[in-house]
């Protein structure tokens, strides 16, 4: 089938590593810097000016094209954060939103657009930048920590920092958590309230609290 790649994922759920076999003459889109190993007949192309091959989603997410020349080739792809990888083939009629650093790889037929969340995203502090994925073909995304898939039937609330991906048939609003006291003292910041029927993938860890934890271990500056 076109735009479907033979692939396998090892090391789940803590240290997932993706291997994709690219048939001769075909191309795979890969998050920049995620390539770990590859065959020598894969040619990497980075387009400099906002072409298909490169996207800017507000968090410097760049995408490179890897094309197999003169025969099939294999590439191993390792996202930067330790965590899980999910394979999600898009069927052509649906939309999937990814938290922008979650994009790992896709078939060239999948269109990835940045979607500026504007005012809503601004308040989150977590930078709720989303990548909108449409088209048909293979798509892979990753998490920090484990991924839990939630079937939203009516509505569900997710901490903005724990969102990995969600289906386009859900509507969402970013709101504060609990009452006013909770906004300042609950430690939760803002949450995303999803409504409708669809799927949300959440991650069991967040980058923000980890960096806050590491902060006291930074050496003192010389003042």
């Amino acid at each position: 089938m076109e735009n479907t790649f033979e692939h396998y994922i090892e090391g789940r759920p803590d240290f997932a590593l993706l291997t994709v076999k690219i048939p001769s003459g075909q191309t795979l889109k890969v998050e920049a810097s995620a390539m770990a190993t590859m065959d020598t007949n894969l040619k990497m192309k980075t387009k400099m000016k906002g072409g298909f091959g490169r996207l800017f989603t507000g968090e410097s997410i760049f995408i490179n094209d890897f094309t197999a020349e003169n025969g099939a080739a294999e590439i191993k792809i390792a996202p930067s954060a330790p965590g899980d990888l999910i394979h999600y083939p898009l069927n052509g009629s649906e939309t999937l939103y990814l938290q922008s650093s979650a994009f790992v790889a896709s078939a060239p037929s999948v269109t990835v657009n940045s979607k500026w969340q504007g005012f809503k995203g601004f308040f989150s502090g977590a930078g709720l930048f989303l990548a909108q994925c449409t088209g048909s073909g293979d798509l892979w995304f990753n998490s920090f920590g484990g991924v839990i898939e939630i079937d939203v039937k009516d509505s569900y609330v997710v901490d903005t920092g724990n969102i990995v991906a969600f289906t386009g048939n859900l509507s969402y609003t970013v709101t504060r958590f609990g009452g006013y006291k909770s906004l300042f003292f609950s430690g939760e910041g803002l949450v995303c309230r999803f409504q409708g029927e669809g799927k949300v993938w959440i991650q069991t860890r967040k980058i923000g609290p980890l960096t806050s934890w590491a902060h006291p271990f930074r050496p003192e500056g010389k003042n």
Binding site: P13, D14, F15, P82, G83, G145, G146, V147, I148, I150, D154, S155, Y156, V157, V158, D159, N162, F177, G178, G179, K181, S182, F185, S186, G187, E188, R193, V200, I202, T204, R205, K206, P209, L210, S212, W213, A214, H215, P216, F217, R218, P219, E220, G221, K222
Partner: protein, 225 residues
């Protein structure tokens, strides 16, 4: 209240299923996701009770000053709780007994579980490690997390555990904090921090890794503040 640990041991999260009207208390910041119709209240202490001294003790202990209380609506609901560092989680059913928990290991508990903030203080100050303990007692489920894997040790007699590796222990054990070496200087240069000497009969839950040791190992690679 039903608790299921998912994605352990590397990046565990707790899925808590609440019946209508049930209350889950959780460390502030632990909520990952939840049902929309849960009501949330943030307090400085146990819901429906006052106790400012306890709240202050909580602030001193380095544990968050605030706790979130999730109350399920008429349909019941679910809450997912996570933690900061990579590691596992486990649950313990209290039935009138008591656990002493390293402050950073507490994730959440059923409403009828009482969380008190004991400060074992002065001796611990020397260690540079924040060895603060919570007393967790009453009846119901407690959710605890570890940095790395969790293993339990059944103590019968005497046993020594590095304070940085303790997650929790049963209160039936007596304990005293001391140095691994024969003197403070000896201990400091030996690289072993403080140790906890347990005596009696009971369970100690340990974590495979010491978060302070890991943080200190990162220091040379981190930018100055």
């Amino acid at each position: 209240m039903e608790v299921k640990i998912e994605k352990g041991p590397g990046a565990a999260a707790a899925k808590v299923t609440l019946q209508a009207g049930e209350v889950l208390t959780a460390e502030s910041g632990a909520m990952i996701a939840m049902s929309d119709d849960l009501s949330v209240e943030t307090t400085t202490h146990k819901k429906n009770s006052r106790g400012i001294m306890k709240a202050i003790k909580r602030a001193i202990s380095g544990e968050s000053f605030f706790m979130n209380h999730f109350t399920a609506g008429p349909q019941g609901g679910t809450v997912y709780l996570g933690s900061t560092l990579p590691g596992d989680m486990f649950t313990y059913e209290l039935n009138g007994d008591k656990l002493i928990v390293q402050a950073g290991s507490y994730v959440g508990s059923a409403h009828d579980v009482n969380v008190e903030f004991n400060w074992q203080g002065f001796k611990s100050l020397f260690s540079g490690e924040s060895a603060f303990w919570l007393g967790v007692s009453g009846k119901g489920t407690v959710i605890l997390n570890s940095f790395g894997a969790i293993y339990s040790v059944e103590v019968d007699g005497d046993y020594i555990v590095d304070t940085g590796h303790i997650v929790a222990f049963q209160e039936t054990l007596n304990f005293s904090i001391g140095t691994a070496g024969s003197s403070w200087i000896n201990s400091y240069f030996g690289g072993e921090g403080l140790i906890c000497r347990f005596r009696g009969k009971g369970t100690v839950w340990c974590q495979s890794h010491n978060d302070n040791a890991f943080g200190s190992a990162l220091t040379p690679s981190l930018k100055t503040r």
